[in-house]
């Protein structure tokens, strides 16, 4: 009897695992590691609580040439946060998938000047993103092309 129960449990195990893994949502195609056109950084996009966030995971120059120590967010308008390391900095925030390969309602932070801009992300193909930062209206902005690090 015990053997039969064990056998049934083993048979059911793959089914419960299949249930536990939710199918990927269309917006999840954004998840991955991407490189901006300047090639100075790599950004890992992940999903937290239904929204998408991107943080710097690699810097070509990780150290500040002036101090020799790891770069920090020295231009942050909030002085209390100027010790936040740039490696690990979450510069893409709060993106929601709005359909048609577009993620909107998010912001992008530029550590070079400490400014935050509204932003939309468009997936041109599996390995290319158009990242458009703007102030106010989308027309008044700048687009950068990001490439997926491990091409699909």
């Amino acid at each position: 009897m015990r053997t039969t129960l064990l056998f049934i449990a083993l048979l059911l195990l793959p089914l419960t695992r299949a249930h536990a893994q939710a199918p990927p949502e269309p917006g999840d195609r954004l998840i991955g590691v991407w490189e901006p056109s300047h090639g100075k950084a790599r950004v890992k996009i992940e999903k937290i609580g239904g929204k998408y966030y991107g943080k710097i995971v690699w810097l070509r120059e990780p150290n500040d040439p002036a101090t020799g120590t790891p770069k920090v967010d020295k231009n942050n308008p909030d002085e209390s946060l100027r010790t936040v390391p740039l490696r690990g900095y979450r510069l893409l925030k709060d993106f929601i998938y709005s359909g048609n390969n577009e993620w909107a309602e998010g912001t992008i932070y530029d550590p070079e000047n400490g400014s935050t801009y509204s932003c939309v992300i468009i997936l041109k193909d599996d390995n290319t993103l158009d990242i458009r930062g703007f102030i106010g209206v989308k027309a008044l902005g700048r687009t950068d092309v990001w490439k997926r690090l491990q091409a699909k």
């Binding site: 992940e46 609580g49 943080k55 010790t83 690990g88 925030k93």
Partner: protein
């Protein structure tokens, strides 16, 4: 029969110090006193709220560099405010005054070079709330530097559930999960 002239107020003599006729300034002073009393009653109240310890987990395998640890914080703010005679709609402002990061096991915080904490929930965007760079080596619990700018914390806390995101900068790869604990002290401003 001659009737006696009636006293004002049905025979009760008005006390001199309350008579506007005898003390004309009272016309102005009384309303002013009333207003001052009312404004004192409606002054916002400040409450201190301490969160329960919030377990945060970074799921392994983990790599040298920044890894994300997360945990859900059911704030319990509604019950707290109710116990103080308020409700959530009366919450006007919230400020994080202290953030403590501690180890959840014997590992403590060893191997974590620096840490920054963000909160996210509901429609409020992600907010960076605290950072410590570098972390003191081999410590078990540290107070983080709290952000000076905290513009939307009240909105975030009204949602009832906050996702706490801790970016932990690890000094080495690891196959195992990493567990830490976040604890927060808030100053709440509640209007009657």
């Amino acid at each position: 029969m001659r009737s006696e002239p009636r006293e004002p107020l049905g025979g009760i003599k008005r006390p001199l110090f309350l008579s506007p006729d005898h003390f004309p300034m009272m016309r102005i002073t009384l309303p002013a006193l009333l207003l001052a009393t009312l404004s004192a009653c409606t002054e916002p109240e400040r409450l201190v709220y301490q969160s329960d310890p919030i377990p945060l987990v970074a799921a392994g395998p983990l790599f040298e560099g920044t890894n994300t640890a997360q945990g859900e914080w059911t704030t319990g703010l509604e019950a707290f405010l109710k116990a103080q005679g308020h409700d959530l709609t009366q919450l006007r402002e919230a400020r994080l005054t202290m953030a403590i990061l501690s180890g959840a096991d014997s590992t403590g915080l060893s191997g974590i070079r620096n840490a920054s904490i963000q909160w996210v929930g509901g429609d409020a965007g992600m907010q960076q709330v605290a950072v410590r760079n570098p972390l003191p080596p081999d410590s078990n619990a540290v107070a983080l530097t709290v952000a000076a700018d905290q513009p939307k914390l009240a909105d975030l806390l009204r949602t009832g559930t906050v996702t706490v995101v801790a970016d932990l900068d690890l000094d080495a790869d690891s196959d195992a999960d990493r567990h830490v604990i976040g604890s927060f002290t808030l100053e709440l401003t509640v209007a009657p």
